[in-house]
Amino acid sequence: MPTTDSIQHLPPHTGQETGVVSAVAGAARSAAEGHTPAQQGGNAQVFNQLLGHIADHHELDFEPIGNVPLPYIFWDHDGFHTFSSQEALSKTGKYSVDTNGQSTSKATYKAIRTDGQPISFDMSITSNVIFLALAAIVLITLLGRAAAKAKHSLVPSGFRNLVEILMVFIRDDVVYPNVEQPWADRLMPFFLSLFFFITLANLLGIVPWGHTPTGALSVTGGLAAVTFVITQYVGLRTMGFGHFMKHFTGGVLDMELPMGIKIALMVILIPIEIMGLFTKPFALTVRLFANMTGGHVMIVTLIGLAFAFRSLAVAGFMSVPFALFISILEIFVALLQAYIFTALSAVFIGFMAHNEHEEHVNDRDLPHPPQGDKLSATAHAV
């Protein structure tokens, strides 16, 4: 791997700064000085520094004004440890950072013990945490203002218009067609929060100096886990425990088949059903993560092309216009992915809220219209 050794050859200043601007400046400096190591690994270094910008990191970048180091907070065998920055962490001698052979910007490194052992429980306030909290605060403020306006008058105006359009869209086009009634209204706050929160978290990545918290698997996994728990809860409440356990057999028990075939089918179907339980939240997790990360990696790659070719023409006619195009596309993708996450959550929860068992019984066993069906069925039997 050419990237691992390139970090040693680089001039010392590149290791100390992070962010797009300093990466650009560093590359420009090494290009101007004509370093041979920069030609070997400099492009990879720029690329990795930019990639480190996408990943979760222990720093807020306000380049070119400066950086704000974020605290390292973790629990280790003898209690809590807090360090204001990576320098403070390294000074103790007990802990250092896990470079792991990567040459991304150093702010992405996790804390480890100096003997190479991992620490027990890392709860550092990283950029993801900061921007998740920021998204929550902005959301509460903005939606609170819209709600306060709604108290004064029935006629929507200004920002409340926008919020209402989105809310009515989610309610009428996403939730109501997919989720049955008692649950649709009960879970409406969940769906609306999900949509607005994911939208805002996605859009934070487009703001200058921003960072996309939804570009981390842990965040999207957490969101999908909430959907998963609610899905199973709704299923348990709607079907009852017996039918809930029965739906893992894929409906084989209700079929008119010999017992041997039923058992053989169940041996195949039960693992599939249980796997299907977990592939849904997994797909939700990976979809949001991959879409948010993919767009940013595209932008990084396009900007990186300018450094790979070391040419102003490539930068002017390729990198910047294409990166701008992808950035505009990202605004659309941010909304689309929030919509898809909400819509798929609604579909999954709708499957469970829909009392499948009863309907099947009605479909198959009672071909007559529902009026007096029991009586006619018994009369027929007699």
Binding site: D173, V286, R287, A343
Partner: protein, 87 residues
Amino acid sequence: MHLLLLGFLGEAIGASGLGYLGAALGAGLAAIGAGMGISRLVSSAIESQARQPEMAGALRATMIIGAALIEGIALFALVICILLAVK
């Protein structure tokens, strides 16, 4: 004997970077599959919308959900490719 052979094979793959080749090929094939799936889905949806414009809204919602599910399959393939590449 077989285990030994497998070990050699694994080592050879690791050393020659064939894993990267497999990951790249896998990602490309997944992209082809997803592209074909989404193209069929969208072309059918557009046809239906042209035939029955009053159904356009419902069709669009179903189309986007279907596209997301196809994309999900492609992403599963992508995860396997990433696992191969960073192994």
